[in-house]
């Protein structure tokens, strides 16, 4: 069972930190944050201002396909 409230706040923190890193590289737009754990993956992507998409997947998931679909459908998700 995932604790959504806690997860949201932690992920927001992570995104802020990732954006700070992006700023260090000349404010390049952040497109994805990928965190790998022993059993899970977490993929974070900004959708619109202050909104993020988070995907939690098992380590058996096809990460390439997930990130491809995520990028491909990003505009549709935003709208």
């Amino acid at each position: 069972m995932i604790d959504k409230n806690n997860l949201n706040s932690i992920i927001s923190t992570l995104m802020v930190e990732s954006k700070a890193t992006a700023a260090h590289f000349g404010s390049a737009p952040l497109s994805m944050v990928f965190v790998e754990y022993s059993d899970n993956f977490i993929i974070l992507g900004p959708i619109a201002e202050e909104f993020y998409l988070v995907i939690i997947a098992k380590n058996t998931a096809n990460i390439g396909q997930i990130t491809y679909e995520m990028k491909k459908n990003q505009q549709e998700i935003v709208s």
């Binding site: 997860l7 932690i10 930190e17 890193t21 260090h24 965190v35």
Partner: protein, 287 residues
């Protein structure tokens, strides 16, 4: 002198113990440019054999073993490996007034030479029995406290310093131990270096070394970091060579342990540490 030397082909900036340089330059021909605070220096190396040591801070110059001792008094130094072509190396030798014949008489590297204990530029009274974490906190306090007593402490040590003022070239000629090529052991008093004090950050770094391996009052041997072994560094070096890799850092919560690549790493490490702390918080939530 430094400005006159050929630029060479830069391999990248690194932070590592001085001894690392000698153990990882067996096939290297070129110059190791060293920066310590506001001073800069270099080591000319030909296939693992250090040919010449030099360090300059303001108007003060250290040459030969004096410079080596100063490098060795730092647990970690920041340096840039720059490869030389044979022509560039010959030119550098000429600028440093080194004869080609002198190279044949050089020892392998300073690592096997039993040198005399060297007086450190600063003395940091770290209690040996305290846990490492406590030492770091204590040192921050002692840095300020020891300032007034430093002169007293150094006064009882062997004299004199081997500083050379550029305005007195005649004096240099009278000092045979200041010949450019002098990696051999010499019986002489250890220098008391009046170089600028170590910044607080670097002094705290010293607490990360095992006290037994790093006697704070006699740093004659270079302390070895706890974390990295030669095989680790080689592996990291191979990753750095991969296409597209700009920089690699090995770090912990306290400091940057090794850096390969020319980047301002500290701001990134601050963020990276914070990110790692955050991702650790996520882990129990998704299980």
């Amino acid at each position: 002198m430094i400005e006159q030397l050929p630029e060479g082909n830069s391999i990248g900036w690194m932070q590592a113990p001085p001894q690392w340089i000698f153990t990882h330059t067996v096939r290297f021909v070129g110059i190791v440019r060293i920066v310590i605070q506001d001073g800069e220096g270099f080591i000319l190396i030909k296939r693992g054999k250090p040919v010449y040591y030099y360090f300059k801070h303001g108007r003060i110059e250290l040459k030969g073993n004096s410079a080596l001792d100063y490098f060795n008094s730092h647990p970690i130094i920041e340096f840039n490996l720059c490869k030389y072509t044979p022509e560039e190396f010959a030119l550098a030798m000429k600028i440093c007034h080194i004869e080609e014949d002198a190279l044949h008489e050089l020892p392998e590297s300073p690592k096997n030479i039993a040198r005399e204990p060297v007086t450190p530029s600063r003395v940091i009274p770290v209690p040996r029995t305290e846990p490492i974490a406590e030492q770091a906190a204590d040192q921050e306090q002692t840095v300020e406290q020891e300032q007034p007593s430093e002169a007293t402490e150094l006064a009882g040590r062997p004299q004199p310093a081997e500083w050379e003022e550029p305005a007195q070239p005649a004096e240099q000629e009278q000092l045979p131990e200041e010949e450019p090529v002098e990696p051999a052991v010499q019986e002489r008093p250890a220098p008391v270096l009046e170089l600028p004090p170590l910044p607080v950050e670097r002094q705290i770094h010293r607490s990360l070394f095992r006290t037994a391996e790093y006697p704070v009052d006699i740093p004659a041997t270079v302390p070895q970091p706890i974390l990295l072994e030669e095989s680790d560094i080689k592996l990291i070096g191979q990753i750095k060579k991969l296409n597209g890799v700009v920089a690699i850092s090995v770090f912990n919560n306290e400091r940057n342990i090794l850096l390969m690549g020319d980047v301002d790493i500290e701001p990134l490490l601050k963020i990276a540490r914070s990110m790692l702390a955050t991702t650790r918080k996520i882990s129990p939530l998704v299980e």
